[in-house]
Each structure stands twice: as structure tokens, then as C-alpha cells.
Amino acid sequence: MLLIIAVSWPLLFPIGLPVPVSKSTRMAFDTIEKLPSGSLVAVSSVLSGGNWPDLGPPEMALVQHLFKKKMKIVFIGCVDETPTIRESTLLPRINKYDAQIGVDYVNLGFIAGAPDVAEAAFATSLRKVLTVDFRGKPLDELPIMKGVNTLADFKLVIHIGMAEDPVRQYYTPFKIPLIVGVYGMMGPHYIPYLEAGQLSGMIVGLRGAAEYEYLVGFVGEGLMGSDALSITHLLVAICIIAGNLAFLYTTRGGAKKEGTK
């Protein structure tokens, strides 16, 4: 019940808390800002219906920024749901700034297999594992795919999902700047990659998406949900502290009673 109130209250009565921008989000933003307009960017993802609330906002924020900067975007999925959810949910909600499909962006579908294998196949054997785009148009007929054979032809790779496999398959062999949008719970796990210079930026879950939307200058699911995020986190923290205070009180109270006997 408390959880329902904690989420619905800020939705009905927005608080408008400021969203401080973290270093990892700022790094990602600056990396894209520094890229020349028209650069070829790969966006690979494990987006699906189940993880949309966590990974959808980071991908939307990053892709919106790419469209705003007039980059050429090649979308690829590492799981079967990604191309469908991109077509039905992600791309319709984004301002594409007159970008044309096949010329300025393309959805290549997905590659079956374990994440490492799918990413390695995309990075090294693109033309062998992808013959048509998600709409069924041959790659040879798409202007955006002209001269694109491996990941070395891209200027930036963005991966939405986990970070270990793209560091292994995208960054390590090709040394191309890599930005990741990760699950909230994996953010702390990937700080070593950020500090080691293997990542050029990291967007962590809904909070990271809110920060990125603020930097790009649009209101998406990140900023809309940040108040609710604050209240629910406060609720969990209070629950933990209250639970432990009660535990301390009962154990001390029990010890005192033992002492008085």
C-alpha cells in the first residue's frame, strides 16, 4: 500500500526535484557532442518488453541525442524482441528531425545466439549474418550501409544492456568509443570499466536517463519518473533504518530483561 502511495503521489502532485548530473552521464553526453555531424553510430541493444522501464529510457535519451546531432544510426538487436519493440515503441516516440529510413537510420533486426556470439558476429561478420533489414530490404540497397562491413567502419558504438560483452567484443578488438546504457542494478558493477577507460560513458537506468534527458533538453520517461524514484527510494531507506532500529530495540530490550533476572 505504501509503495502504491509512494509512486502515485508524485505522479498526481509532481515535486520537481532537481536531478544532479553524474560524471558517467556527462562523459556519455560529451562523447556524442564531440562527434562530427553525420558520423556512423551503431546502437546495439537487448531491449525487450520486460526490461523496457529500465533500459528503454536510456536508449530513448541516447537515440534522441543522436537524431538531434544528425548522426547516421544503425540499430541492431541482440535478442529477438529488440527490433519489434524498437519499431512499435521506441522509434515512434522519438523526434527524428526529418531523418529518412535507409538513408539516415536503419533497423537491422536481431542476431540469434548468446550475447558474446551475437555481438562478435555483428562486429566482424556483419554482411554474413545480416542480409536484409527488419523491413526485408536487402542491405546492398540501403545508402546508409554502403561500405559498411565491420565495426571498424563506425565512429561510435552504443550498447544498451550489460557492459562486459560489448567491452569484450566491441571495444577490445576495435578500440572504438563505447557508451553503455545499463540496468540500474548493474551500474555499480561497471564502474571499474569506466575508470579503466574502456567505456566512454555510462547511463545507469532511469536515473541516468533522467540526467541525460536534462542534458539533451527534452522531457521523457526518465524525468517524468524521477520524483517517483526519489519517493520510493526514500521509502526503502526509511524501511531499512526503521527495521534495524526496531531490531536493535528488541535485542537490547531482550538483553536488559535477561540482565535484570
Binding site: V7, A114, A196
Partner: protein
């Protein structure tokens, strides 16, 4: 005019949420619907992948060798036959070999060498806090690796090193827990934001009330029919 699409989405969502109270007929219905839809979707996407990667090159004559790949793929299904199940080991072995190879070839550089190199931080910097942090990081990484490598050890020094490694890991798990809370709450906020949107709100209240009545009725009535 009732929007059937919104009614379906709200109903299915609430069916899943009944699990928070108790496993119910609504939950079982939602669970089986989910399983059926997931596998059905995956199957269609698999056919699409086979068509684009293998069938198109075969039918256009660009690469007829993919027939071999398709035969190996079909042979995966021999695992359902007791007599011929061993045939499915061959394509599995191919997948294992490729997966192992692509993971291994970059793991040394990405996860071992790069991480160890990044641990070599300057021990003296102009900023005292940065100096302290760098020294702390080097010590904690070493202690953590020591904790993993030497699970048992004699002596006070090795015990203290392992203890510091364990404390470092506890702080790490605490941070991971913080991230987990972020993810769990995000997933819930995403759903609730959808349900509470103006278009869905009245369906939520209406369908929710109806389901509560049905569940309450079911709870009251079925015990009367159960044998004592």
C-alpha cells in the same frame, strides 16, 4: 465506448499483480498466457532469422553451404528421441566451441590486463583525498583478490588481509543492493505510470474493483464446497 485494447492491457497487468496477495486463477491465466506468447513470438523470430541468414543465400545461390548449417540446426531436435539424441550433441558442440572461443580471445585483455593496469594508480597526488582514495583502491583490490585466491590460510596477517577483502566485498554488495533497488523500483514505476495514465485510470479502477469482488467471492464460496 470501451477500448478493448486498454481493457486487455489493464486486465492482464492486474492479473499478474494478484500474485502479490496470493496465487489465484487470474495469476495462473496470466502466467500461461505469458509463456505461450513468449514462445510463440520467439519461434516466429527464429523462423525469420533462419530465412534471412540461411535461406536467402541458399535460394539465391550466393552460399549453398548454409544447407549444412540448416541440417545441423534440424539435428538439434533429435534430442527428443531417446535413440538418436546423441546427434544433437554435434550442433551443441559447435555453439559451445564458438561461444568459448569468442569469449576467451578478448577476456584476457578486457577483464584481466586492463583492470590490473587500471589499478596502478599514482600513490601521491596534489589532492589529499585522491591520494587516500588511490591507496585505498590499491589495497582493497589486492585484499579482494587475496580473499578469492586464498580461502583458507594460517597466520594473523593473512587473516587480516582476508578480513579486509571480505569487508570490501560487503561494501560492494551494499552498493549492488542500492542498484538493485533502483532497478526494481524503476520497473514498478514504469508499470504504475502506464496504469495511472488518464486513458487507463478508469479501466484500472473498474477492472480492479471487479477482480477484487471475484477474488473475495471465490475466497468465501469455495471453502463451503471443500470436504471437511
Amino acid at each position: 465506448m470501451i477500448d478493448f485494447t486498454i481493457l486487455t492491457t489493464v486486465f492482464l497487468t492486474l492479473c499478474v499483480y494478484t500474485f502479490v496477495y496470493k496465487e489465484s486463477a487470474f495469476w495462473r491465466f496470466a502466467e500461461q498466457t505469458f509463456i505461450g506468447l513468449a514462445l510463440g513470438y520467439t519461434f516466429v523470430m527464429a523462423i525469420q532469422q533462419i530465412q534471412t541468414v540461411a535461406w536467402v543465400p541458399i535460394s539465391t545461390g550466393k552460399n549453398v553451404l548454409f544447407i549444412g548449417a540448416m541440417l545441423l540446426g534440424f539435428s538439434l531436435y533429435t534430442r527428443f528421441s531417446k535413440k538418436h539424441a546423441w546427434i544433437s550433441r554435434w550442433p551443441m558442440a559447435i555453439l559451445i566451441g564458438i561461444g568459448t572461443g569468442v569469449a576467451m580471445r578478448t577476456v584476457v585483455e578486457s577483464q584481466i590486463v586492463a583492470q590490473i593496469a587500471a589499478t596502478f594508480l599514482p600513490l601521491v597526488t596534489p589532492d589529499p583525498m585522491k591520494t587516500f582514495n588511490n591507496i585505498a583502491i590499491i589495497i582493497m583490490v589486492a585484499c579482494t583478490l587475496f580473499f578469492f585466491t586464498f580461502t583458507r590460510g594460517k597466520g594473523k596477517t593473512s587473516g587480516n588481509v582476508r578480513k579486509l577483502g571480505r569487508y570490501t566485498l560487503m561494501l560492494t554488495f551494499g552498493a549492488a543492493f542500492g542498484g538493485t533497488v533502483l532497478t526494481r523500483m524503476t520497473l514498478y514505476i514504469g508499470r504504475f505510470t502506464y496504469l495511472w495514465a488518464p486513458a487507463q485510470r478508469y479501466y484500472l479502477l473498474g477492472v480492479g474493483a471487479l477482480m477484487l469482488v471475484v477474488l473475495a467471492f471465490y475466497e468465501k464460496i469455495t471453502p463451503l464446497f471443500q470436504k471437511k
